[in-house]
Assembly symmetry: C2
């Protein structure tokens, strides 16, 4: 745990420059608007350790896979989330001296992420090697109201001298990815141009040929009044800049406004692109910084109206939940069916790809409850659109007859991951995708979705499971070998309970959905039977046989579901027996040792009990929770929220609170020592769930929303809203009781 | 199976240029002398597909590891067998026209590897694009008698013209490795020089800083008489050459002799190196080609005297066994304790490293029986010298107290392999290393070896096993989780019978060896106790507890040893059920499918029964053989020989013969479609074993050599020699009986 940030209900604040945590701060203070995002890199030069990151949604590069020994079925490439054109850059010279933040003495530094209004601001005094001191304030945001624009206001005041200040705002497309596998260049120059107070750069990704255009418009103020300086402008491949120099008297303030337009070929033809970026920049400059900022605050205000969770009496918890909700909304707004929710959002490169099972398992409930129903539907349609690729993917692995295996990581439906134990074996993702459909329909009642898109996906998934199990003569049951469950600290195991239970449920649900189609949408059903050459009699017969005879491990004389074959053969010991110096074990232990240990990376059996809570009595859940929880090391961001929800269900309030704090402050307090790589965006939805489903006890059954709230003793009160059947339900919990209103 | 070579008892012959098999031929016709080796690349230019390979023993490069997701304990680098200076090159011009073999019409092509005398010769007529035809003969060898030298004789006769022939013999150190992970250059230029009829090049590997020097001396003959042409010479970085041009009349023959000296900094100081190479080349030219070739034949004659196996009535089998013996002798001569037997020897780059468990499990018996005892001892000392590194390696993985885990692949004792399921889990290699000591002492009676080096290694290995097992409360026995057995088509399994049995045996043998030391070499023992802080009472107590309580799976009601937990739960089916188009499955199936299947890559339980044959009755072996053999796909080169030996033991002659042909002609007939990558050198020793131990039934028990020969019905007779207790034992088997003589 690393704590260096100031607690505040609506802000993330860094007081004094924490140099060694700067890369983490760059992640934590990231801003975005669903269309693009930007790490909290500095505008001015910074020669210290930094991870530069400017990301444009949907723009990726197929980086050649790096692998020790090739295995059949591995994808050729890994879709990389792409560092794209640097649009924030402003080089600064003071009396001819280049400002390099890393080489100056900093004082009065304060970095603030204003989550209520959606902007990043940084103030500081810099003493340069020459002894000159400037005071600066840099404020910026990615506009939610006009998601092709961003704006920066950069103010400088000479504190102990009078002299020239030079601003060099630029656009630079000659950027690298830190995690490029072969140090390849991902971008090619297309076009650049500059004129006084403006510039434009267009770049193209290699191979995928996405074009990205960035344009800027510049304005300058001295002591609050616009001035028209001489603009020296230039451009080169990948690059465009303006230079503005002006003598500024001690105590005077010179301000640079940089208005940015940023668009990609996802939304414009190549021919229009440069123009579209320039038009966006022009809209921004016409609107002006203050007016844009006001609209930004209004946009965020609307989001908060619905999505905010208020916690009284615990500012750390309050700050954390808003931090999570803020980043979820920055990452995905639900406006584009081609996009999804990358595990790092727009805050880092790691993991590549955009879509994991996280989307269905964690993010969907958040978007269902805080956005219009079409947003969640759109997330499901995303998978429907990739069904053909999922079928191809299964074929590669030897499956037949339209069986579909959705990829572990993807951008366009093709698998990007390449570790056999994950790529080929962590197949439970197929279960989560089916569950997403079920969960969406349960919440919205939108059964029609099945007839349009949903059942097609279910069929492909059911066909996969029916081929993936095999009959064990020895056990006289169906078994599933060679699996990696959600607990990735076990590889290539047999009969992972979670996966097998899910397989069985998927078959069952597909049959139920089929029955519904047959009675409610017979025409749609008939069309699907033809389209997928569905042999109902034979296929359903096999599915039912599997449902009836699936092996699911249970410890004799108990209700404990055995994580997988051989688990009970391990040395079982609580995670509390580990020394602090060994944690997280994935950074200290060799892989075989992790695999041999009993330690559980993230909820596995418990994840299943969470999803299928209504299939089990509370006693069964309790027995499993008490058995598995102590062995869980929560080294995946997706783990604590599920434990928090179950603990709340079981009335284990302290555990629920501990796990809540862990999930909600995972990045703020950097539990797993990896915030510098980017934030854990998808698990942030889990944080939301741990309040709404955990403490709030929200469930949906038979079209009814129910709540069973508890109030952690650390809190005075909390309240939240959920959108259900088009209505906002307000839930307020305090020591006196619960208030639910529509 | 790909058969394009001519059968001959002493020769490998390619009649007519088999263009599409050229890369395989380059492997098959490789030559070497234990100190260096050379693929059968052409001397003249060849713009077609080729894998250039010139390898110097002990010279390697630590290529940066390529891996998808890093895991703790992975090595940073992979030691690459290094393509080094090209010393065979002779560029040829005919009337100013460059000769590119790939662009000419070839006729009368014949490539021959003379195994009896140890040289490679190639004859051909080349019609160039201009229509000119030359006849050529290129003969070369790496001298066994003076292992710093090689010689090439290249003769050209214009068949349909009179004109200038230009030879440009050169040395070129600017070479690449085909399998470089990041396309890095591995070599740096150190020195080059040229003078009339001679040249020298010295290069240095990056990082490891090995120097290699090659020198050449040139001689020219016309119609059998030496001539002194004008030598135009030049040199540049990495490069030295001479040019000799001469008008040659139709039907006349011009011959170039290229005498080469090749030395490395393993044997010389950097200062002496260039000089040492030049001196070697000078020795060669002074000796002359014919005289060197005569010595070469004499050297090989001595090798064959002892090592030859004669098979009558089956030329394919005869050719094959000599091919195997020939390459074993080219790869390792036993003269340098720092060297070992790479899986591809000097015939390819693949696998890198030089030392696998193959050395102890397969190669040692061959060298024990066909070379002086000190050669086998030296192979064991190699491991003793790397004990410290093996202890470090185990520490990296979390083991303590001097536990040693030998690497899967190594050059200098450090692990080079980086796939977790192999690197961390294929730990049975430790067993083979202990078995090597046992096997050597059983064969030679050299118990003193234990007091000098052997027990130190056994102790480290025993300590490893005693920590690698754990007590299972559920089973009330010791179990071993997270293992990959010799059958690499099962990863991360529990209680692999082979590995667990070996662990138990290692502990037992270490105790026996300890008792021997205590009674025979008490001083040495005392020193070791102190050196390794060996706590006899506590440690031996634990070992005995493990020996007494080790879990070893056995199928109820049978003698079948269960390969690992869960194996009986699989769909069991014979390999014969697979279609030909799916074979080898590792080139057609995804990895998870291979893992889930019952198919066995190479002997696993059967490998254990082979090693410990005397622990089991023939009935037990038979039951297991009949169970596992049909499921074995033999997609490792190390598999068929063991099956051949067991089949012979069990009197299953046809199976023994089938497996013998498969192991012995693995590369000649390219069973696994990979001869182009290099030959399977270490499994060649297995081929030798399958005759001597298989058909010949040789065993050593209580210091006695015994034979129990069978004669395959395809053969008239066979005979071989083994060296035992310093005496040559001759074994001759024919239809009339067996003759054994000393």
């Amino acid at each position: 745990m690393i704590q260096y940030l100031t607690t505040h209900p609506w802000k993330i604040i860094e007081e004094g420059f924490k140099r060694k945590h700067h890369r983490s701060s760059e992640s934590i203070f990231s801003i975005g608007n669903g269309r693009f995002g930007q790490r909290a890199n500095f505008e001015e030069d910074y020669s210290g350790p930094t991870l530069q990151g400017s990301y444009v949604a949907g723009v990726y590069y197929p980086d050649k896979t790096r692998v020790g020994w090739w295995k059949n079925g591995y994808p050729e490439y890994f879709a990389k989330v792409l560092n794209s054109v640097n649009w924030i850059g402003i080089r600064i010279k003071v009396e001819g001296e280049d400002v390099d933040f890393a080489k100056c003495i900093t004082s009065n530094f304060r970095r603030e992420l204003n989550m209520r209004e959606g902007y990043l601001v940084r103030t500081f005094d810099l003493e340069m090697p020459s002894g000159k001191i400037i005071r600066a304030e840099a404020k910026r945001f990615c506009s939610m109201a006009d998601d092709e624009t961003a704006a920066i206001r950069y103010a400088i005041t000479p504190l102990n001298f009078t002299g020239t200040i030079r601003f060099q705002p630029y656009l630079d497309g000659d950027v690298k990815n830190h995690d490029s596998n072969y140090e390849e260049k991902f971008w090619e120059h297309v076009h650049s141009a500059s004129s006084p107070a403006s510039g434009v750069v267009v770049c193209r990704t290699r191979k995928t040929e996405f074009d990205v255009a960035a344009a800027m418009r510049i304005q300058v103020e001295l002591n609050g009044k616009e001035i028209i300086p001489t603009y020296h402008h230039s451009h080169a491949d990948f690059f465009a800049e303006n230079n503005i120099e002006r003598e500024v008297h001690q105590g005077e303030t010179m301000v640079l406004y940089k208005y940015v337009g940023l668009v990609s070929s996802l939304n414009y033809s190549r021919e229009e692109l440069a123009n579209a970026a320039q038009k966006a920049a022009e809209r921004a400059i016409k609107s002006g910084f203050d007016s844009m900022l006001k609209m930004q605050a209004e946009s965020w205000s609307k989001i908060w109206d619905l999505a905010d969770i208020v916690i009284e009496g615990d500012d750390e918890a309050q700050q954390a939940i808003r931090f999570n909700i803020f980043h979820m909304n920055q990452t995905y707004t639900g406006e584009d069916a081609r996009l999804n929710i990358g595990p790092k959002g727009f805050t880092g490169e790691k993991y590549g790809g955009s879509t994991y099972w996280d989307t269905e398992a964690y993010c969907l409930p958040f978007y269902m409850s805080t956005k219009d129903q079409k947003v969640a539907r759109q997330l499901l349609v995303y998978r429907y659109n990739q069904l053909d690729k999922a079928i191809e993917n299964a074929q590669k692995l030897g499956f037949k007859n339209g069986a579909a295996l959705y990829p572990m990581v993807t951008m366009n439906g093709e698998e990007c991951h390449n570790e056999w134990e994950i790529t080929f074996e962590e197949i439970h993702r197929n279960g989560a995708i089916a569950y997403g459909i079920f969960n969406y329909i349960r919440y919205t009642g939108d059964e029609k979705y099945l007839s349009e898109f949903g059942w097609d996906v279910l069929l492909g998934i059911a066909r996969f499971w029916s081929q993936r199990v095999h009959w064990s003569k020895a056990r006289q049951q169906y078994v599933m070998h060679g699996v990696t469950g959600p607990n990735e600290y076990e590889n290539n195991v047999n009969n992972n309970w979670y996966t097998s239970y899910f397989a069985k449920w998927c078959l069952q649900y597909t049959i139920e959905a089929m029955e519904l189609l047959k009675s409610q949408y017979p025409d749609a059903y008939g069309a699907k039977v033809a389209r997928y050459a569905f042999d109902e009699t034979t296929e359903v017969k096999r599915w039912k046989d599997i449902i009836d005879n699936m092996y699911l491990g249970q410890l004799e004389g108990t209700e404990i579901r055995i994580q997988h074959d051989g688990f009970m053969d391990k040395e079982l010991a609580p995670a509390s027996a580990l020394s602090e110096s060994e944690r997280p074990i994935n950074q200290h232990w060799s892989w075989d040792r992790i695999l041999r240990s009993c330690y559980i990376k993230q909820a596995d059996v418990l994840q299943g009990l969470y999803f299928f809570e209504d299939h089990f009595s509370k006693e069964v859940i309790r027995e499993n929770f008490d058995f598995y929880e102590p062995m869980t090391v929560h080294e995946s961001s997706l783990s604590p929220c599920v434990h928090s929800i179950l603990a709340a269900l079981l009335g284990q309030e302290d555990k629920a609170y501990e796990m809540y704090m862990r999930t909600s402050r995972l990045d703020l307090d950097d539990y797993n020592h990896e915030a510098h790589e980017g934030l854990h965006i998808t698990s942030m939805a889990g944080t939301w769930m741990s309040i709404v489903q955990g403490f709030g006890g929200m469930r949906v059954n038979n079209g009814q929303l129910t709540f069973n709230p508890i109030l952690p003793k650390q809190w005075k009160a909390y309240s939240f809203n959920v959108l259900f059947n088009g209505k906002v339900v307000k839930v307020a919990v305090n020591k006196d009781g619960v208030q639910i209103s529509e």
